[in-house]
């Protein structure tokens, strides 16, 4: 156990790509936590998708031993967090386990939308904040301007900012000293009953369920019997470790410390992020307040391509949900797709990441149906219903009115692109709430319908501003509007998985965009295929996919039989990525891609 005064716990927060994970690398490396030969860039981004996309998706914790200039030995627990909006829940959850934050700001870019969002969260969590201006090795770095922005836009003192290049290692030592001297030590009473916060958990194929905790009060030791206060589950601790970043066993953890344990946990459902862990006997009385549950904003159906994979899919989803409290699911059945799950996500990237992880980590092939937000239906008989799936939309004659979720979007954009951003927001039925300037950049606040934002707003924003705008949003509430269900008919058969709710005024435009997209996404068949968008019985857009005209191998002699047979076998396997609707095969990626608009 380490004395409280020699522990510092902090998260690293920033806008996407400002260099959090690289800063974590340098802190890990310069303290000798990981040997140079084992280092690699963004060491903590260990998932394949993280490495491929170059972004952090999961918050990651490392324990670092640091001998400060004053000769004292400190234990630092660092949590590297993701920067993308869709993973904001990871950040807020992580912040609850620590006392301070390093606020990283790319000194070539300045304050961005997630910088703001993260600062507000850090302030909410009563954190001490140390600003870190990163990437000062780059010629475009403008430290003075960014300090000014931090003071003007965020309103915190930037005079003591750390000047760092996480790439070259400049300022790393000073940052370590600032962590020790400027961040507060945790508080806690080692003699009080055990009170630990369940911060995270995940499934490891060798170890089973691994639980990460932050001890608030009391001591926890290997072999002890503990209780999860919310679920009531009781377990004996098999293995207690700290993350460096690989697991290193430890006999006990005391107040202020962060570590992980395994306890032969069979029921994945027993471990709830935010739960309080105490001893089975002589436990603490009152649990910690817990975390505010995440509100999924986008829903879609996930179905196994092979109906026999339903149980493996259930198992995989449960295990993944363990690692991601912001993801929700419930069973769903569809006439065309069979048994599957209706799942909720924090955004489209979140959806894509979960689907990718299910496919890779659990070797499943999935069909994803068109994503949708949650609508409130006010029925004529006074009933109020939530609509998660456009396919469930009742006949309009029973519906009095429909409300859709709205958001408050904050966008930071250089002057030059302001016009494009305003146009985009306007096109998406936005209402301007505020427009202010911070230096040469505008801070635009818009009230927007969520369903105009979730699918591709962020992509569009990036493309119209050449990547210079940043964006963050919060749900604000529901508002009535004129919404209708648009159905898509492929070869004259309605494809439920493609139906969506749209605003009446935008229906024709969206319908046209959908059918044009689908025409590109569906491969040519041996016959021509009409693709239509309809509201009720009325067709509002139509395209025809012409028939395949030529697909024949010119040469096929004795030596080609094997090759051709293997090719056909491979295509047969590839067909699993297709779904049959009537006589037409639709590739699974069509269900999401069709919604992205190029306006």
């Amino acid at each position: 156990m380490t004395d409280l005064s020699h522990i510092r716990n902090f998260s690293i927060v920033a806008h996407i790509d400002h260099g959090k994970s690289t800063l974590a690398d340098r802190l890990i490396q310069s303290t000798g936590t990981v040997q140079d030969r084992d280092m690699k860039a963004q060491l903590l981004d260990s998932m394949d998708i993280e490495r491929e996309r170059g972004i952090t998706i999961k918050a990651n914790t490392v324990r670092i031993d640091y001998v400060a200039d004053n000769g004292e030995k400190y234990v630092l627990n660092l949590i590297d967090t993701p920067g993308h909006v869709d993973f904001g829940y990871e950040v807020s959850r992580s912040m609850r386990a620590v006392e301070g934050s390093l606020l990283v700001v790319d000194s070539t870019q300045g304050v961005e939308a997630q910088t703001l969002a993260n600062v507000y969260q850090a302030i909410d969590a009563d954190h001490e904040i140390v600003p870190v201006l990163n990437k000062i090795d780059l010629p475009a770095s403008d430290v003075d301007r960014v300090k000014e922005q931090i003071e003007d836009v965020i309103g915190i003192d930037a005079s003591q900012s750390m000047l760092v290049s996480a790439k070259t290692g400049i300022g790393i030592h000073e940052t370590l000293e600032a962590i020790v001297h400027r961040l507060p030590a945790p508080k806690g009473d080692r003699n009080a009953p055990l009170k630990a916060m369940l911060v995270d958990s995940w499934y490891d194929s060798y170890l089973g369920v691994v639980v990460m905790i932050r001890v608030m009060d009391g001591m926890i030791r290997r072999g002890e019997r503990i209780k999860m206060m919310q679920t009531g589950a009781v377990y004996g601790i098999d293995k207690l470790s700290v993350l460096k970043p690989q697991m290193v066993d430890i006999a006990e953890l005391g107040p202020g410390e962060i570590g992980v344990f395994t306890a032969s946990i069979k029921q994945v459902r027993d471990t709830r992020v935010g739960d309080t862990i105490t001893h089975e006997k002589k436990g603490c009385e009152t649990p910690l307040p817990g975390f505010k549950p995440a509100q999924p904003v986008v829903f879609c159906g996930l179905f196994p391509v092979d109906a026999n994979d339903f149980e493996p899919l259930r198992d995989a989803i449960e295990k993944l949900a363990l690692n991601d409290a912001s993801f929700s699911f419930e069973m769903e059945t569809s006439a065309a797709l069979g048994f599957g799950f209706r799942c909720g996500f924090l955004g489209l990237l979140h959806l894509e990441v979960i689907r990718d992880r299910l496919e890779r980590e659990y070797d499943l092939d999935l069909i994803t149906t068109a994503p949708s937000v949650v609508y409130q239906l006010y029925m004529k008989d006074g009933e109020k219903r939530e609509l998660h799936n456009p396919a469930d939309m009742p006949d309009l004659t029973y519906v009095d009115h429909i409300e859709e979720p709205r958001i408050k979007a904050t966008i930071l954009v250089p002057d030059d692109y302001l016009g494009d951003v305003l146009k985009l927001c306007q096109d998406r039925r936005g209402v301007q709430l505020d427009l202010t300037y911070a230096g040469s950049r505008a801070l635009v606040v818009y009230d927007l319908p969520l369903n105009e934002v979730v699918f591709d707003f962020y992509d569009r924003l990036k493309s119209v501003t050449k990547g210079y705008a940043s964006f963050d949003y919060q749900l604000t509430g529901y508002q009535e509007d004129s919404l209708v269900k648009m159905s898509i008919l492929v070869n004259d058969e309605p494809v439920d998985a493609l139906s969506m709710m749209v605003h009446r005024d935008r229906a024709e435009m969206r319908g046209r965009a959908m059918v044009e997209k689908l025409k590109d996404l569906i491969p040519r068949h041996m016959f021509k295929i009409p693709i239509q968008a309809a509201i009720g019985g009325k067709v509002i857009a139509r395209e025809t996919l012409s028939a395949l005209r030529k697909d024949v191998t010119a040469k096929c002699y004795g030596g080609d039989a094997t090759r051709k047979r293997k090719l056909l076998d491979k295509q047969k396997a590839g067909k699993k990525k297709m779904r049959q609707f009537g006589k037409v095969e639709i590739p699974q990626e069509a269900f999401i891609s069709a919604l992205k608009m190029d306006d």
Partner: protein, 385 residues
């Protein structure tokens, strides 16, 4: 009970793996070599024939095919020795067909007489295009004129001469192809192979294509128009397609290739050659080592050049039967299809008959004219998922 292969026949394929230069579109197993020890190659081929001959002794041989590479680089004596040895193991049908693939240069034309005297009855010449600019673009060593002269020599020596053209070339227009095809039909005796240019992985064209640098290839619609024009023009000239890319007057079809498409048995000898052999009641796939040097070494040291000899599952055999057989205008025999277990595909087949891609007639299953240009899609539909 007769074994299935008997309905398709029995033939011998001999692969000669050398060429004078490598054409940029070609993915055949062909190599450019400085020197070739024809005597050593002869010993290896004869050893292989003896080995397979012992396994299939007494079968009635319908055809021998010397393919390449460029078999017209073989010494006439070598070709004769192989034919002799084959005849020792297998009785041949009266009108046995012995084809040799020839490149249309003057040097090679000089050997034609020797081939005929050694037993070759038919040559298939790779003329590819009828104008010099396109021949150069295809990396060919001969001019159109030289090809014509070689062709004239061939028709003086052999009764049966076929030639190959490649169409849907870079920047070729529909009109240009129609004109070229009509010219070709004027020259043709009774057989023509007309291949749409295929961009194969691992060739120079393949690399250029992947790098986005192979321009002027036809899109699907133009390729389809060219294919249709080819069917119409050849049909009108009395040379209908009896297979996707092969056209002949009635009775002049290549017997050898029909063994493949009718899914008979064939012995494959030489580097990279494939074979299908029914032994002990089971159809086997054989495949020889591709590298000429290693193949020679294997034959020499181990007594055979095959690196694959494996039984085909019933499903594999059924798949191959269909993917080969549906290439033929005549299609496949329903009785054979049934005996090979084709019943499992009945639903798929009926669906394709409904949309008029396939038809059942005269005890056979075959493509309709609409189905022919989309054979691959039809096959995917039949074999299902």
């Amino acid at each position: 009970m007769a074994e299935d292969w008997q309905a398709g026949g029995f033939g011998l394929y001999v692969h000669w793996p050398f060429c004078l230069s490598k054409c940029p579109y070609c993915d055949f197993n062909s190599h450019v070599a400085a020197t070739i020890d024809q005597a050593a190659w002869g010993r290896a081929y004869l050893a292989e024939i003896d080995r397979v001959g012992a396994l299939t002794k007494g079968r009635l041989l319908q055809s021998i095919f010397f393919g390449g590479g460029t078999p017209s680089l073989m010494d006439a004596e070598l070709v004769a020795a192989i034919i002799d040895r084959a005849r020792r193991w297998w009785p041949t049908v009266n009108d046995v067909e012995i084809t040799l693939e020839a490149n249309p240069t003057s040097v090679e034309a000089g050997r034609f007489r020797g081939y005929r005297d050694g037993g070759v009855t038919r040559v298939s010449m790779g003329i590819q295009a009828l104008n010099d600019a396109d021949l150069r673009a295809l990396g060919r060593l001969h001019s159109a004129d030289e090809a014509m002269r070689a062709f004239d020599v061939a028709r003086g020596v052999f009764d049966r001469v076929s030639f190959d053209l490649i169409y849907a070339r870079q920047n070729q227009t529909l009109e240009a192809w129609r004109a070229e095809l009509k010219q070709a039909l004027g020259l043709a005796i009774d057989h023509l192979s007309l291949y749409q240019l295929t961009i194969e992985e691992g060739t120079a064209f393949g690399d250029r294509y992947n790098a986005g640098k192979l321009r002027g290839l036809p899109d699907q619609d133009l390729a389809a128009d060219m294919y249709e024009a080819t069917q119409d023009i050849c049909e009108a000239a009395g040379m209908p397609a009896y297979e996707v890319s092969n056209h002949a007057r009635l009775g002049a079809e290549s017997r050898h290739n029909q063994i493949y498409w009718r899914y008979g048995d064939y012995v494959g000898i030489g580097p990279g050659a494939h074979g299908r052999l029914t032994l002990g009641g089971t159809r086997h796939a054989t495949e020889a080592e591709r590298s000429p040097a290693r193949w020679m070494q294997l034959v020499d040291q181990r007594g055979h050049g095959d690196i694959v000899y494996e039984p085909l599952t019933d499903t594999d055999a059924l798949t191959e039967f269909l993917l080969m057989g549906l290439r033929l205008r005549e299609g496949v025999d329903l009785g054979r299809l049934d005996a090979l277990g084709g019943g499992v595909f009945d639903n798929n087949i009926n669906g394709l008959i409904d949309i008029e891609m396939l038809e059942r007639a005269d005890g056979r299953l075959r493509l309709t004219p609409a189905g022919r240009p989309v054979l691959n899609a039809v096959l995917r539909g039949v074999l299902g998922g």
